[in-house]
Subunit: 75 residues, 6 copies
């Protein structure tokens, strides 16, 4: 009876995408650990950009500093 | 000094009901483990239906599949 | 389908006491919000004293500072 | 930069199975939401059976009550 | 690669104050444990007063009971 | 009355270092948001390397892949 909590930045995930996450995680736990989907909970939490920090900065600021350097930006 | 986190689907719990949860959990921890209410925190989080999955589906979809079968529906 | 997480300091809670917590919280959610026990999860986590801080100190140190003053000590 | 927390009962998941969960969840977030694996954290927590309750009972007790009735047992 | 979750009551913390928390926690983990800021996540969650309980009461009620007694009120 | 949860990989943090984290986070919340230390909880959780994933791999594996490339390794 797994409980999975997914925290992502709030940037427009649609209900359809959330449903894909729910299905994907539930299938994964069934396939890898034989967990029963009926008792697998998946809770998605979207966090405002100002409430998520990385590199010592709020995400939006952090991305600006990365934008000045080569390589992919974290999402 | 317990910390209790209660996650429920957002379906209209009133401030009075939340106060009952806070009091009930705090009393329980005092009665069972002799915990001091003054240092018992209870945090309630309501989660939108589209953000809670069970059975590999968002809650609202899951309930529809159950509605076609006998037995109680999960709340 | 609530999910409840209870964090307490590790100080000898017995399996029987944990079972009381599970039953008490589940009954509370059924009585207050009509939640189905079959889809109510309760997860208890015991935290070592050195890993829990309050008042800017690890719990054991904090209690010593309180022991020198009147009033109940937090548990 | 997602953060995913997976809580399961402690029943012998191997390091290989955990690695499958990490890879599966990370791939899912990349495929569905275009999230960067390098900033996707997955934390797995195994919970002792006596610390997980469902149906108002510790898991082990709950399974015994289900074992006397037809249908699959929750894992 | 630490993950830090800060839960506070929702009482008007500004984006600037949140940025201070992010920077402060990230610096702390770098200074104490040599953690890399680039892989240190800080997630702040603000909780409505009606959803936070202490002393067996929602915070707002609890503060009223303390207001009638001497000493500092919890924030 | 903040609640702070710090998750780090289990790699030998000492009780003294944990006490520094507790004090540092508590001071930060007092200085930035005027929070009362007496009702500030800090809970530290150490996670085994096999239970923490990043980049789609358990941490230990992830570090090996980074070791073959220039730049700092995440801690």
């Amino acid at each position: 009876m797994p409980y999975v909590n997914i925290k992502i930045t709030r940037e427009g995930a649609t209900p359809e995408q959330k449903a894909e996450l729910v299905k994907g995680v539930t299938d994964l736990l069934m396939n890898v650990l034989d967990k029963d989907p009926a008792t697998t909970f998946v809770v998605i939490e979207e966090v405002a950009l100002e409430d998520w920090g990385v590199g010592g900065l709020p995400v939006a600021e952090y991305r600006k500093t990365l934008a000045a350097t080569p390589g992919p930006r974290p999402r």
